[in-house]
């Protein structure tokens, strides 16, 4: 960004960019301030921007109504659990595809990605019936299993692109030197692989956290995650704007922070390294 431009141009671009960015951000910002208003103030006309009296009552009301803590716990278990299970299956697969590729490796990768093109509704009914018969409906482990399966192709692709960037020479050196193999793995391979694994983990936690189709269709009260929790607010009670805002804020805050933290990795991860 070393281009020289007149200061006026720079000011103009800055103002325009900030205006558009804040406009895009305004629904989130509005939710944030509304969550701290009283119900009466939330629907007042004309609206106030900042709360005249700040209140934390809405958050308590949300917990009382739908047990936020339980849903958040389910979300954490499902998203972290499915990501770890996915990594367990995906790391060996991606590793072998990256370091011992065969003629069919590209085809297998393409096929794996194509399973992601299968619309969830196309398989919803059988899964629903299988889950009913196996008594997996509305259970956390049933949901974790589904989440693992739907995100597995993405996990494999992401890891594959990261692993492919580890120079093969290093791996061969490690192999030649049999006695030093363990040290090589520990001091060379693991440090090179861990960043890729870490950002894959982060991104899949985000994807699983926000997944709504399966959580809404396969769970109700017991195993519901935050996406199911918040969907229950679409019923008429949801019209309490301040409480709805508090619930929304509670549902998105953890992942929003995680997303900000990992936005650099997001580009690489989600485009399978195809865009640099």
């Amino acid at each position: 960004m070393a281009r020289r431009v007149p200061v006026q141009t720079r000011i103009g671009f800055t103002i325009l960019a900030w205006a558009i960015a804040l406009l895009l951000f305004s629904p989130i910002l509005w939710t944030l301030v509304t969550a701290f208003k009283t119900e009466a103030e939330a629907i007042a006309s004309p609206p106030t921007f900042l709360p005249q009296t700040w209140t934390l009552d809405n958050f308590g009301a949300v917990q009382d109504r739908s047990d936020y803590v339980k849903h958040a716990t389910n979300s954490i278990i499902v998203s972290v659990g499915s990501t770890l299970l996915g990594l367990l299956i995906a790391i060996p697969a991606a590793w072998s595809m990256a370091f011992a590729p065969s003629k069919r490796t590209k085809d297998i990768l393409m096929w794996m990605l194509s399973t992601k093109m299968m619309p969830a509704v196309g398989v919803l009914i059988p899964i629903y019936l299988i889950f009913r018969d196996l008594r997996l409906l509305d259970t956390v482990h049933g949901l974790t299993l589904i989440m693992t399966l739907i995100n597995l192709p993405i996990i494999i692709w992401m890891l594959y692109t990261y692993f492919k960037e580890i120079p093969v020479d290093i791996l061969e050196a490690a192999r030649m030197d049999g006695a030093e193999l363990w040290n090589e793995i520990r001091h060379v391979l693991v440090p090179m692989a861990v960043p890729g694994i870490a950002s894959t983990l982060l991104l899949n936690v985000i994807l699983a956290w926000n997944e709504a189709f399966w959580t809404i269709t396969l769970t109700s009260g017991r195993a519901g995650t935050l996406t199911a929790f918040i969907s229950s607010f679409s019923s008429p009670q949801g019209l309490f704007l301040a409480k709805l805002s508090a619930a929304s804020l509670l549902a998105i805050a953890p992942i929003l922070l995680l997303g900000w933290f990992s936005q650099k990795q997001l580009v690489r991860g989600l485009t399978f390294g195809a865009v640099k």
Partner: protein
């Protein structure tokens, strides 16, 4: 380097992933296909036996199916159009020398992390509600009658919400591609007297083509299955005005308990997705073969 042992080891290491994904794909698909030729209703146990093509003629012949199909195409096409055009514009803007670029990136990407039901509810109640939504206040401020968005423009409203969620993604990917364009190339073009429009058309746009392909692929995968946004806002209505294929299958199969017809709808959804997939995978397959 690929000795016999390493090849065997590689196959063993790949096996779990391949087997798991294969089962995940084939078992439910075969079941869906099987159910789609059966009379099967969860609340009416009297309905059993082979149905022939009855479920298909019922689903495809239903006017709501045609509407759901058209809605699906408008939804996917509309969101792609808004996010690609808007994303290109925003990426070009954020690539300019501006103050606070790092913070701006974080602000712009934020809607992407908002879970779909929350995005839909924020827009429905905080923004588009005619009584106390932000837009309602704005309309009243200018002395206009507030618009009841979800009743008057249901599909458009859903498109706005979904586009809001995906614009950040498109912007971020396109911006990353833009920033990898070498400064020399740009300057050379400028020296040669290429104006801004020509620079965009002959240098920037071809450079971003690959990123645009990726954005189209990833978004289409997710947009074909849009569900939560419809479920918590319009419920597919009024009538079938904002029902897409995903929501129609859910409605038929799960809400109306008609497993046979729902499955037939599911099979049709899979076929549509695969037609789209063949085109997309070709384009991307070429691009990814670096």
């Amino acid at each position: 380097m690929a000795t016999k042992q390493t090849r065997a080891l590689a196959r063993t290491m790949m096996a779990p992933a391949v087997v798991v994904l294969f089962i995940w794909m084939i078992v439910p698909l075969v079941m869906t296909l099987w159910f789609s030729f059966q009379n099967y209703n969860l609340i009416n146990p009297m309905m059993t036996g082979f149905a022939g093509w009855a479920n298909y003629t019922y689903v495809i012949g239903d006017p709501s199916f045609t509407q759901a199909l058209v809605n699906t195409l408008i939804l996917v096409g509309g969101v792609l159009l808004i996010t690609i055009v808007g994303g290109t514009f925003l990426a070009l803007l954020l690539d300019q020398p501006i103050w606070g670029q790092g913070i701006l990136r974080i602000i712009v990407i934020s809607p992407f992390f908002v879970m779909p039901p929350v995005a839909a509810l924020i827009w429905k109640n905080g923004f588009m509600h005619p009584g106390y939504g932000m837009l309602g206040h704005l309309w009243k401020f200018f002395g206009l009658q507030p618009v009841d968005w979800f009743n008057q423009y249901p599909l458009f409203s859903v498109i706005v919400i979904v586009a809001w969620q995906w614009l950040p993604f498109a912007t971020l990917i396109l911006l990353t591609a833009l920033q990898s364009l070498s400064e020399e190339q740009r300057e050379a073009a400028e020296m040669d007297g290429a104006n801004a429009v020509n620079r965009f058309r002959y240098i920037i746009l071809p450079h971003m083509a690959r990123a645009i392909t990726i954005v189209i692929l990833i978004q289409t995968i997710f947009l074909l299955g849009i569900f939560a946004e419809i479920r918590v806002t319009t419920g597919g209505g009024p009538g079938y005005a904002s029902t897409n294929i995903a929501f129609l299958v859910f409605r038929t199969g799960i809400l109306s308990n008609d497993i046979g017809a729902g499955s037939a709808g599911g099979v049709v959804a899979v076929i549509i997705a695969n037609v789209v997939a063949i085109f997309l995978m070709r384009a991307v397959g070429k691009n990814l073969d670096a």
